[in-house]
């Protein structure tokens, strides 16, 4: 169970340079006294949008996920170091949640129901009706038939 996950977008470059960049990234983790559990390569893929970084706008990037462990007070310095790295287009560090602790109560059958039968849709409709039907409280009992308070205050 890793503690942290580093999502890494390296710029498009030759294989030797990717190796040296990854070595640099991992050596920063080792320098803090941490270790790496896993390095996963998602491959060279188009970015969702044109990203500005060092060496011009990037439309493609090498995607990596690094699962690692460090003491929490090293996270911010690590983040700052990766921000300054010229080969890294984007990077972010996430806290990994234990899937055993998270409870998912929804099922596929619930999700496939028509919208009117889904509980979240029903809750949404009830909330909007509550807002729509809101009326200010009247200042006096309405059964007097008068539009003003009949007694002197």
């Amino acid at each position: 169970m890793p503690s942290y996950e580093l999502a890494l977008l390296l710029r498009v470059m030759p294989r030797e340079e990717i190796v040296s960049s990854l070595k640099r990234v991992s050596s920063q983790i080792f320098n803090t006294g941490g270790f790496i559990r896993k390095i996963q390569n998602i491959g060279q893929q188009p970015t969702p949008y044109k990203m500005s970084a060092e060496y011009g706008p990037h439309r493609e990037a090498n995607y990596f996920v690094v699962e690692f462990e460090v003491a929490p007070h090293h996270l911010l310095p690590l983040k700052r170091i990766y921000e300054r790295d010229v080969d890294i287009i984007r990077s972010n560090i996430f806290k990994v949640k234990d899937p055993a602790e998270e409870s998912h109560s929804c099922t596929l059958d619930d999700e496939l129901k028509p919208p009117a039968y889904r509980k979240e849709v029903q809750d949404m409709i009830a909330a909007s009706l509550k807002v729509k039907n809101w009326k200010p409280k009247s200042a006096w009992l309405p059964n007097t038939g008068l539009h003003y308070y009949p007694f002197q205050r």
Binding site: V19, S27, F30, I36, R37, I39, N41, I42
Partner: protein, 240 residues
């Protein structure tokens, strides 16, 4: 007297002390009032008598000698009668007080002592009775407290044991996993292996609950799994 009362009741003639609000004659709102002669709806005193009255001499009171003697006689008699009444009331009060004192001393000293002893005996009985009840109650409560403490101790021991087992399991699993840690010694192989293997976390599901791992996996392929199966990303070896 009537004029004095009127003057006193007139708020403008009353010097009110202890409050700065508008003068109003009311016992509740007036802490202390003093009637003063200079504060009234007349000319102020320091203007002196008017010019027309400057040489006016008020007439001397003219009381005949007979009237004076008669008034003195009446006043002396009145004073004598009032002092006599005063003495009489004093005498009567003395008698009444004596009677009250005697009425209070209805017991002799011995009787009083005897009653005291009797009351003390009854009181001792009551005390003994409530002491017995109190001891029973305290014993009961102590027993309950001991029982609760024992239960708490057992629960805590159980909790500690569970936590220790959990932590031991975690430590054992982590020790097992530590063989696969990536450290500066094996970072080169790990990077090489990562670059040679591309992983794909995408998957899709169909209405029967089958899960197709991989972004472009066809339903006929080998990668279809039931949705309850664990999600492992598809791995594709690429030539180095």
């Amino acid at each position: 007297m009537a004029s004095l009362l009127r003057t006193s009741l007139n708020p403008r003639n009353v010097l009110r002390l202890g409050s700065n609000i508008e003068p109003q004659f009311s016992p509740a709102t007036t802490p202390w009032t003093q009637t003063v002669r200079w504060r009234r709806d007349r000319k102020p005193m320091w203007l002196g008598p008017s010019k027309s009255k400057r040489y006016w001499v008020p007439p001397r009171p003219n009381q005949p000698l007979e009237e004076k003697v008669e008034l003195r006689r009446l006043f002396t008699r009145y004073k004598t009668e009032v002092s006599a009444l005063h003495d009489l009331i004093k005498e009567n009060m003395k008698e009444v007080q004596e009677k009250q004192k005697q009425a209070l001393q209805f017991q002799s000293k011995e009787e009083e002592e005897a009653e005291w002893v009797e009351c003390m005996a009854i009181n001792d009985d009551w005390n003994a009775e409530s002491a017995a009840l109190r001891e029973q109650r305290i014993a009961r409560e102590l027993e309950a407290v001991e029982e609760r403490a024992l239960q708490l101790k057992l629960a805590r021991d159980e909790e500690k044991r569970k936590l220790a087992a959990e932590l031991n399991a975690k430590v054992r699993a982590e020790k097992e996993r530590s063989k696969t840690y990536i450290t500066p010694e094996n970072i080169d192989e790990a990077i090489e292996q990562a670059l040679n293997t591309v992983v794909d976390f995408n998957y899709s599901i169909d209405l029967r609950g089958n899960k197709y791992i991989g972004k472009r996996t066809k339903p006929e392929s080998q990668n279809a799994k039931r949705i309850s199966d664990s999600h492992e990303p598809i791995k594709r070896e690429i030539a180095a």
